[in-house]
C-alpha cells in the first residue's frame, strides 16, 4: 500500500512505555555536583535547583533496517539526522512543544513506526510503510514554526549490540540528565553551552562494548568505547 506517500504527517496519539527508564536527574551517579528536578521522573536523588523539563524521546521501530530521515524541533532549535530502525532518540533539556518529522526512505515496503514520548508518557504514535512518505508527531501541542539550527548542536551517538542495556549521565551547564536504556541511541542536548560530558556504563548483561561519539556542530569532538567511559568536550 503506497498511496500515502505525499504530504505531511500523521499524528496520532498514544501512550506507552519507552525503554527502561529515563529521568531528569541522576541517582546512580548523583548529579555530578549539579542540581535539578523533574516532575516526570521515576528517579530521584537530586534536589533543589530549577525544574528540569522531562526529556522527549522518539522510538523509531518497525521493520528492522528501514532507513529514514528525521527532523526534531522544539521552540529553540531543530536537529536533522538519518538512521535505520531500530533507533531511539532522546532530546534532553528541550523547550516544548516538540515536533518530529520522519520520512521513510526504504526502497522496499517497510514499516516505520515512530513513537513520541514525554518522560514516560507516549504522546503520539504514527507509522508509514511507503517510501518517501512523511509522518509528523508532536509532544506538548502543535509547534507553530520549525526552529532554526541549534546555536551549539550537541549530540551523543551511542551504538553497540542491539538491546545492550546501559546507563547514561549527560551533563552540561547547570543541569544533568540520566537515562537507562538500550543501544542504539541518539541524544540531542538542547540549549548546550560551555562544557558538556557524558558518562556511559553498561548494566544488566553484557553483549559487547558500546561506543559513544560526542558530536558538536557536526564535528566529532570525542569518542569512547568499552563498558564504562566518559566523553567530554565543549561548545565553541
Amino acid at each position: 500500500m503506497t498511496k500515502a506517500r505525499l504530504g505531511g504527517g500523521i499524528a496520532l496519539a498514544m501512550l506507552g512505555a519507552l525503554a527502561l527508564a529515563q529521568a531528569g536527574c541522576g541517582n546512580t551517579f548523583g548529579c555530578g555536583g549539579l542540581t535539578g528536578s523533574s516532575t516526570n521522573s521515576g528517579f530521584s536523588g537530586c534536589s533543589g535547583g530549577q525544574s528540569i523539563p522531562p526529556p522527549s524521546s522518539i522510538n523509531f521501530a518497525g521493520t528492522l533496517g528501514t532507513s529514514f530521515i528525521a527532523t526534531v524541533s522544539d521552540t529553540i532549535a531543530s536537529y536533522s539526522f538519518r538512521g535505520n530502525v531500530p533507533l531511539k532518540v532522546v532530546y534532553v533539556n528541550n523547550k516544548p512543544p516538540v515536533l518530529i518529522l520522519a520520512t521513510n526512505l526504504s526502497p522496499s515496503p517497510s514499516l516505520l513506526s515512530v513513537q513520541a514520548l514525554s518522560g514516560f508518557t507516549t504522546t503520539q504514535l504514527a507509522s508509514t510503510s511507503t517510501q518517501g512518505s512523511t509522518i509528523s508527531l508532536s509532544v506538548g501541542g502543535p509547534l507553530p514554526a520549525l526552529a532554526g539550527p541549534a546555536a551549539c548542536d550537541v549530540r551523543f551517538v551511542v551504538s553497540g549490540p542491539i538491546n545492550q542495556n546501559y546507563e547514561a549521565l549527560l551533563e552540561q551547564n547547570n543541569n544533568a540528565y540520566e537515562n537507562l536504556t538500550t543501544a542504539p541511541t541518539l541524544y540531542l542536548v538542547g540549549g548546550a553551552s560551555g562544557n558538556v560530558d557524558g558518562v556511559f556504563t553498561e548494566v544488566l548483561g553484557f553483549f559487547g562494548p558500546i561506543k559513544a561519539d560526542l558530536v558538536i556542530n557536526g564535528v566529532l569532538a570525542d569518542t569512547g568505547l568499552g563498558n564504562s567511559f566518559t566523553v567530554k568536550s565543549g561548545c565553541p
Binding site: 520520512t103 522496499s108 513513537q115 503520539q124 508509514t128 510503510s129
Partner: protein, 602 residues
C-alpha cells in the same frame, strides 16, 4: 518454552486511507474461561518487535489487506492456550485517515488524521485453542476486523471503532521455511529472512539445538514473495537467495547451511560525496554475500544477500565491528547508498584489515558517491503567517517511475519563498540510460494542529528534468492552499496484484492497491468496499489514473489512462483560524468531497 510466531492479516475498508492500531503486544492464557480477567497471572506475552526495548507499534491495517505480515516471534511456556488477546494502547488506541465523503457538502473533513476511541475494551480477545509444544514453531495468524469506523459529531473529534479479532488459518497466507545449520557453535545464532535484495528483515528466529529452524513467511499471489535467508551470530555468515513463496503453494525444500566458528575483523571506511568531497552522514552501508561465486554484486544484486547493515556517522565514517571471513570462493561486497547519490557496490578484499581496491582509500573500504545538484525556489501561496513557517518536502524520482532517488525539505517562512537544493544521482536508470528525473513538492500541513499525512496544498510537479541541463530560468515550484480532495473508484475483478496509480502531468504521484475481493477463510469480516481504491489528491488539478497488474517485476498497464478533475471545495467562513490553511483570498477551504472515477476494467 516453545516458539510462537504471531502474524496479522485483515481485509479492511479501502474507503479509508489508513486505519491504524497501536499494538502493544499479543498474549495468551491457558484458561478455558472466556471471561478470565486481564489481571490473571497466567497470561504470557509476545511483545512488539521494536528491537529497542519495550514499546509498541502503529500498524496500518490496510497494509495487511492483501498479504499477511509477521508481528513477532517469541518464546512462551509450552502448553495449551485457549484465550488470545491483542493488547491495544488503552490511552491512544489508534487513528484513521478517512477519505473525503461522497456527500456535498461533506459534514467531515477527509484526508486528515483523526484519533479513535473504542466502544469496548482495548484488549481484543478471542477464544481459540492454541497448542505450543516444546519443539518446533507454532504460528498464530490473527485477523483484525476494525468494524466500520463511526465519524465524530464535530471536526477534530474521535472516530469510534469496535474492532474484533479471530484466528485465521495459516494456510495459504503463510508458508513454512525450515532447514538446518551445520557447524553452529551454540544455539545463539540467528536465521533471518529478508525481502530479496533488500535489508528489510521480515522475520528472524533463533536456531534451536542441533541448528534447526522453522519460520512461517508471508506468501503473496503469483509471482509470489521472494526472500533471502542468512545465518548470523558467532559464526561465519551463510546465505540462500531467491526463495520464492507463492500463496497456497508448497513449502520449499529444507534449506541447509554450513557455518564455521571464526573470529572477525573490523571493517571500516568513509562515505564521501563525489561532488562536494564532503562527508555523507547517514548513508546506508550494507555487507553483501553472494549465494554463489557466479554472482557479481557489482553488476547485479541477483543472488546477493545483505547480511549486515550500518549507517555512516557525522564524519561519514562507518564500522562493522566484527566481520567473520567469507565462505571459500564467495567474496564479500560492500554497498553504500543514500538518496540523492549513486549507489555504489565494491568488491571487498578480506584480510586482517579489509579493503576495497576500487575505492578512494586503499587502506579501508571507502566510497565516492556521485550526484548532481538541482537548485531553485519553492513558493507557498499564500505565505505562512508571521511567526510560523511551512515545511515543504521535495522528492525526485526517475522520470515515469515512483522510485525515490532524491529527497530534501525546505522551510518556507512568512516571506513565502525559499531556495532549495536537491541532490540527485548522476545515474538513475542504468537499464534505460535516461537519467532525467521528475520533481514533486508537497507542503506538510496540519489540521486543527494535528499533522496530516496528505497535503492541503496543491502538489507542484515538474517532469523530465535533465539534472545536467536544468530548465532555463531555473526550477520554480509553487504550492497553493486549496484544501483536500479525494478520487475514489472501483477496479473491476481485481486481485492482490491489482494497483491503481495516480499521475499529474505525467509524473507518478501515488499508488494504491485495491480492496481485497476474497474474504479471509473463517473471517467474520466482509470487505466493505471489496473492489475500491482511493487517493487523497489535492483539488483544482487534472489527474490521470491508470490500472496496473503487478504479475512480474514490472507492472503492466491495463486499459487506458483516465483523466479526472478534482474540484476545489467551496470556501467557508469561520470565526476562528482556518483548520487547515488559508487560501489566497483569505478564506478557508471547506470540507472536501469525494470525486468519483469510472470503473477500471480488467
Amino acid at each position: 518454552m516453545g516458539a510462537l510466531e504471531i502474524g496479522f492479516i485483515d481485509s479492511p475498508s479501502n474507503g479509508f486511507q489508513s486505519i491504524a492500531l497501536n499494538i502493544v503486544s499479543v498474549r495468551l492464557n491457558p484458561s478455558t474461561n472466556p471471561a478470565v480477567p486481564d489481571t490473571d497471572p497466567n497470561w504470557v506475552t509476545v511483545s512488539a518487535p521494536s528491537g529497542a526495548g519495550p514499546g509498541e507499534l502503529s500498524v496500518n491495517l490496510l497494509d495487511f489487506q492483501n498479504n499477511a505480515v509477521v508481528f513477532n516471534i517469541g518464546q512462551v511456556t509450552a502448553q495449551n492456550y485457549n484465550q488470545v488477546e491483542v493488547v491495544i494502547d488503552a490511552t491512544q488506541p489508534g487513528m484513521v485517515i478517512p477519505s473525503c465523503s461522497a456527500a456535498k457538502p461533506a459534514a467531515q473533513e477527509g484526508c486528515i488524521t483523526a484519533n479513535v476511541a473504542f466502544t469496548g475494551s482495548t484488549n481484543l480477545r478471542t477464544t481459540s485453542p492454541v497448542s505450543v509444544p516444546f519443539t518446533g514453531l507454532t504460528t498464530l495468524l490473527l485477523d483484525i476486523n476494525p468494524g466500520t469506523p463511526v465519524p465524530p459529531a464535530s471536526p477534530g473529534g474521535k472516530y469510534t471503532l469496535n474492532p474484533s479479532i479471530s484466528v485465521a488459518p495459516v494456510s495459504p497466507f503463510l508458508i513454512p521455511v525450515s532447514g538446518t545449520v551445520a557447524g553452529v557453535p551454540a544455539t545463539g545464532d540467528i536465521i533471518s529472512a529478508e525481502l530479496t535484495g533488500t535489508n528489510s528483515i521480515v522475520a528472524s528466529a533463533q536456531l534451536t539445538t542441533g541448528g534447526n529452524f522453522t519460520m512461517q513467511l508471508p506468501a503473496a499471489e503469483p509471482p509470489g514473495t521472494t526472500y533471502d535467508l542468512f545465518v548470523s551470530g558467532s559464526s561465519t555468515f551463510a546465505v540462500k537467495s531467491g526463495i520464492t513463496l507463492i500463496r497456497g503453494g508448497s513449502a520449499p525444500p529444507a534449506q541447509s547451511f554450513t557455518v564455521l566458528t571464526a573470529s572477525g575483523v573490523a571493517l571500516t571506511g568513509a562515505v564521501i560525496d563525489g561532488r562536494t568531497k564532503g562527508a555523507l552522514t547517514g548513508a546506508t552501508v550494507s555487507l553483501l554475500l553472494p549465494a554463489s561465486s557466479a554472482d557479481n554484486c557489482v553488476t547485479s544484486m541477483s543472488g546477493c544477500v545483505i547480511v549486515a547493515t550500518t549507517t555512516s556517522d557525522s564524519a561519514g565514517n562507518y564500522t562493522f565491528p566484527s566481520v567473520t571471513p567469507p565462505p571459500s570462493g564467495t567474496p564479500f561486497y560492500v554497498q553504500a547508498s543514500i538518496p540523492g547519490t549513486n549507489t555504489v557496490t565494491q568488491l571487498l578484499s578480506y584480510s586482517s584489515i579489509p579493503t576495497c581496491p576500487s575505492g578512494p582509500n586503499a587502506s579501508n573500504c571507502s566510497f565516492l558517491l556521485d550526484n548532481d545538484l538541482l537548485t531553485g525556489t519553492i513558493t507557498v501561496d499564500p505565505p505562512p503567517g508571521a511567526g510560523t513557517n511551512t515545511v515543504v518536502t521535495l522528492l525526485a524520482e526517475p522520470t515515469g517511475t515512483g522510485n525515490l532517488v532524491g529527497f530534501s525539505q525546505v522551510t518556507v517562512t512568512s516571506l513565502g519563498t525559499a531556495p532549495f537544493q536537491l541532490e540527485v544521482p548522476t545515474t538513475v536508470s542504468p537499464t534505460t540510460g535516461n537519467n532525467n528525473v521528475d520533481l514533486i513538492a508537497s507542503a506538510q500541513d496540519a489540521y486543527l494542529g494535528v499533522g496530516t499525512q496528505f497535503s492541503g496544498h496543491q502538489l507542484a510537479v515538474l517532469g523530465n528534468v535533465n539534472p545536467t541541463s536544468p530548465p532555463a530560468g531555473g526550477i520554480n515550484l509553487t504550492v497553493s492552499c486549496l484544501g483536500h480532495g479525494t478520487i475514489a473508484g472501483t477496479a473491476l475483478s481485481p486481485d492482490a496484484n491489482t494497483h491503481v496509480r495516480l499521475f499529474q502531468d505525467g509524473v507518478q504521484l501515488m499508488d494504491s492497491t485495491v480492496g481485497s475481493t476474497v474474504p479471509i477463510p473463517g473471517s467474520t469480516a466482509t470487505p466493505a468496499f471489496p473492489t475500491q481504491y482511493s487517493f487523497c489528491a489535492p483539488p483544482n488539478n487534472t489527474y490521470t489514473i491508470q490500472r496496473f497488474e503487478e504479475t512480474s517485476a514490472t507492472a503492466v498497464p491495463v486499459g487506458t489512462a483516465t483523466m479526472i478533475v478534482v474540484p476545489t471545495p467551496e470556501p467557508v467562513a469561520t470565526s476562528s483560524p482556518c483548520p487547515l490553511c488559508e487560501n489566497a483570498l483569505g478564506q478557508c477551504p471547506g470540507n472536501c468531497s469525494a470525486t468519483s472515477a469510472s470503473s477500471l476494467q480488467p
